[in-house]
Symmetry: C2
Subunit: 249 residues, 2 copies
Amino acid sequence: MRKILLRLSYDGSGYCGWQVQSGGSPKPTLQQVLEDALKVLCREDIRVIASGRTDSGVHALDQPVMFRTASGVPTDRFQRALNGLLPNDIWVLDARQVDDDFHTIANAKKKTYRYMIHNAPNHDVFLNGRCLEYSRKLDLTAMKQAASLMVGTHDFRAFCSSGSSAKTFTRTIYHLGIEKVGDRVYIDVQGNGFLYNMVRIIVGTLLAVSEGRIMEEQISQALSSGERSLLGETAPPQGLYLLQVDYAE
Amino acid sequence: MRKILLRLSYDGSGYCGWQVQSGGSPKPTLQQVLEDALKVLCREDIRVIASGRTDSGVHALDQPVMFRTASGVPTDRFQRALNGLLPNDIWVLDARQVDDDFHTIANAKKKTYRYMIHNAPNHDVFLNGRCLEYSRKLDLTAMKQAASLMVGTHDFRAFCSSGSSAKTFTRTIYHLGIEKVGDRVYIDVQGNGFLYNMVRIIVGTLLAVSEGRIMEEQISQALSSGERSLLGETAPPQGLYLLQVDYAE
């Protein structure tokens, strides 16, 4: 048995997330589509494990996915063969063999997400399902100030949607940057791991700060009390991109 | 009767072009979808005229479209009302009343198109139907050299697909720029008007020059002889964007 590590990019707008979590959906899941393609290629049932399950509508530029195979398909064949089998909103960037003790979830050291806001009065027809459209003026200064409170090691249980299976809530955010480029605002966040919906709650909270609905003190209070209701709404999924997962120390 | 000028942006990938030209297609045309929305809003049959008919799969960032209406809908209501009625891959940027002798086709002085090439070995899942994917290395120096031969006033009949209804073939290209930004190559062309498929033949020819299949002399010969076969293939539609139409002198 070999263990193979794929790196995938995908436009999540046509999918019901990485893995179905509840209820039925007419859309397929990314995991199912990938496993179906692997079954055609390897002629065996294959179970894949991503570095994390992206929600319905969330995108990835570089999602690591591992699986074991007993097939004889050469490792350097996987990328091209899978790209021939997968729909054009999923793309395999790379495939290589890894040690059997490598694990996409357990070994992840750092994750980087981007949240993209189209901040303009006009709708951008080329960004359907790929950003949050937000026409009000953003108070970037207040947002950056609030963001600085979230950086570091904290108990982030207030930044977690119910339904999380996390055992501990302490996480470290290494970087939380906000940058405006033309009509787009990018919120980039890097940490050692993220709770369920944590990035989207960070973004929703920063938007509420920009609108003056949440004050800086509330963020400090939320971090110390763990009270979800002190924070902003969970921002919608379509603006979220998994950018990178780092495994090296 | 008022005459209204709309400015439209659209992602053309879901449409059979501005107007059906031949054959049947399961996809609607942009003109039909816009006229249907106007009929709902104005309660009358309305015929719209764009500055030019974009082909199936071609996009627009700012397409001028005019129509006459006898309805009482206030001019400043059109933008919001149409955007509420149109699908999210079409967006009205602006609506204003114009003089009755204004004409979107006859009064156009300058048009600017962009052709977008994704020049990388990997497919970009976010650019499906929105660029030409081209993985070979581009010889930008040779392409710029060849482009410079096309700038100016020439008889462009060699740069025209059959089926054109043009009466004269003389056009002026004011600017033909090629710029590489990361993995993307933008070919921007501005002229006083374009023949049928002219921009896509320019792009296909520049790609053939990059590949060494067409020499500079052939372009000069094509301009003097009008021989279409001396030039490159018509580049595919999905990379083409109508950027702007200028009406001022």
